[in-house]
């Protein structure tokens, strides 16, 4: 579905991605692993059209994806749930969710809200509360819910487990798997490599913006390189 071929991208004078190639196929969860500063978040922001592509091609459903235009990418159904969650702190939970479907007809909102509330019943209870007053875990649920409101055909999640208690992390990963089972492919950036590889069909390890290693989730979990560098074994 989504293919990045030989992508160079970065900010100003700094080149972050250097010849990055990766692919997400229909129905997959793909994990993107790497050390801090390897370019994982930049990869997602580049696909989302926030960071401009310097060279290389991104194709989506076998057609070139518009680059550098966040709204055009969103219209293709590629939704990013960014690192740090970026909840609108002084919008209510409901308004945060509605903001996620800004480009889509409003009459589809009620059905989508139902779906989001099925994944996250807590959000239904808190719908009138301000986003900024939620706990970290609740904010992460809200951020994923908001991305789902955009009717994603590809969902990109950046560090969904960052700073959350272990039982909440488990719950978030369970829901990521559930969303995927309903047919939404997921590109997942995680520092929690073990958790990510457990649910991922395939994964890529990138080092300073370049491909280092790729394989199925199980292969990567078993590889010495990954175990030493990212699993701390």
């Amino acid at each position: 579905m989504l293919k990045l071929h030989d992508i160079y991208a970065g900010y100003g004078a700094i080149e972050v991605l250097k010849s990055l190639t990766l692919e997400v196929r229909a129905g997959e969860i793909v994990a993107l692993l790497g050390a801090n500063g390897a370019g994982k978040s930049t990869t997602l922001l580049t696909i989302a059209g926030v960071v401009p592509v310097r060279s290389g091609v991104i194709t989506w459903q076998d057609k070139p994806l518009p680059v550098g235009q966040a709204d055009a990418v969103l219209r293709q159904g590629i939704c990013l749930c960014p690192e740090g969650r970026h909840i609108f702190p002084r919008l209510t939970v409901l308004e945060n969710l509605i903001s996620g479907s800004f480009l889509l007809p409003a009459n589809r909102n009620p059905a989508k809200l139902e779906e989001v509330f099925q994944y996250f019943p807590l959000l239904a209870e808190r719908r009138k509360q301000l986003g900024g007053t939620l706990s970290g875990g609740e904010q992460q649920m809200l951020a994923i819910g908001r991305a789902l409101m955009g009717e994603p055909k590809l969902l990109m999640l950046d560090e969904p487990s960052l700073g959350l208690a272990p039982q909440i992390v488990a719950r978030i990963f369970e829901i990521i798997r559930l969303i995927n089972q309903k047919g939404v492919p997921i590109l997942l950036v995680e520092q929690n490599a073990r958790q990510a590889l457990k649910i991922a069909h395939r994964g890529y390890v990138i080092v300073t913006g370049r491909n280092q290693l790729t394989g199925t989730g199980a292969e990567l979990l078993a590889s010495d390189e990954v175990r030493q560098a990212y699993l701390g074994e």
């Binding site: 966040a70 969103l74 609108f88 903001s99 800004f102 955009g150």
Partner: protein, 309 residues
């Protein structure tokens, strides 16, 4: 208290609220732009002043074209003023502020002060060096007719100002709190990166904020010039400063706060004029501001700075 002094007091209060309402329409522009961009648009007073002139000249043209139909020409004049002010406000944002959005905070501020001076002298040199009178035929109709509130007299102009402001505030409150556009506006104010990630056209929302604030300032400008009967190229400076003060007083970035701050200023001025004479207006206004800021540095309804980050 005698019947006469109660009626005077009522009239003074109505006058204060009317002034407050006009300040509020201008203060909203300051506070909305601050809410979205975190900058003080010091040229906003000039947008108000341009609205005044646009209306007076438009009314002049209409009365030459098809005669003096008071309500028709006034209504059209206000619309022309809104269009002119909105165009200037939009141009300001495009030309003087947009490129500076990522610059140091002092850069757009300085640019705004420059635009303010530029627009004053632009009007001074191209339109009128002297004061211009609002066409009496129009303003007299509204200032000479009144209704009685008890024994106090409330002029049609005051009623118009209060009615118009009430309608606009209600509309604005609805727009910001209950529409998709309102959600987009608040989302843009809170997190521009995320707003663009959910597909909100951030640049257009910012432009819209300037256009809306400018149109409100134009309405205030027309009311103000009818109230005082004269308009002059530097009228925006004083009123702009007052409205800016009102926005700070209420808590800059907060919309109900701007209205509250403006009402307090309007009433302070009216009561000062009654008790000490109008030359004490400005000292009293700023004394109130300093007192409030000493007790509540964020303004009356301002949010904690920590919440903004």
């Amino acid at each position: 208290m005698t019947a006469d002094s109660t009626s005077t007091l009522t009239e003074i209060l109505v006058g204060g609220i009317s002034r407050g309402a006009m300040y509020a329409l201008v203060a909203l522009g300051y506070t909305m732009v601050y809410g979205v961009l975190g900058m003080i648009n010091f040229a906003h007073g000039e947008i108000f002043m341009i609205g005044m002139f646009a209306c007076v000249y438009a009314i002049g043209a209409f009365s030459v074209a098809w005669g003096d139909h008071i309500m028709l020409n006034l209504t059209l004049g206000i619309m022309v003023a809104m269009i002119f002010s909105a165009a200037y406000g939009y141009a300001n944002e495009r030309i003087a502020y947009r490129r500076l959005r990522k610059a140091h905070v002092l850069a757009p501020l300085t640019s705004a002060i420059g635009i303010s001076t530029f627009l004053q002298y632009f009007i001074f040199l191209t339109v009128s060096k002297d004061t211009v009178n609002f066409p009496r035929y129009y303003s007299d109709y509204l200032t000479n007719h009144h209704i009685n509130l008890g024994s106090a007299e409330v002029t049609y102009l005051q009623l118009t100002i209060l009615g118009l402001t009430l309608v606009i505030m209600t509309g604005l409150f609805y727009l910001i709190n209950f529409t998709r556009l309102g959600i987009a506006l608040r989302a843009t104010a809170q997190d521009q990166l995320m707003a663009s990630l959910v597909g909100i056209p951030v640049n257009r929302i910012i432009a819209f904020t300037f256009i809306l604030g400018s149109a409100l300032a134009a309405i205030a400008g027309v009311m103000f010039s009818m109230y005082n009967n004269v308009l002059v190229f530097d009228a925006g400076y004083r009123v702009g400063l007052k409205a800016f003060t009102a926005a700070i007083l209420g808590g800059i970035g907060n919309i109900p706060g701007a209205v509250l701050g403006a009402m307090i200023l309007g009433l302070t001025e009216a009561l000062t004029t009654l008790n000490f004479g109008s030359q004490w207006d400005d000292p009293a206004t700023f004394a109130v501001l300093m007192l409030v800021l000493m007790l509540r540095p964020r303004g009356l309804l301002g949010e904690r700075v920590a919440d903004k980050v």
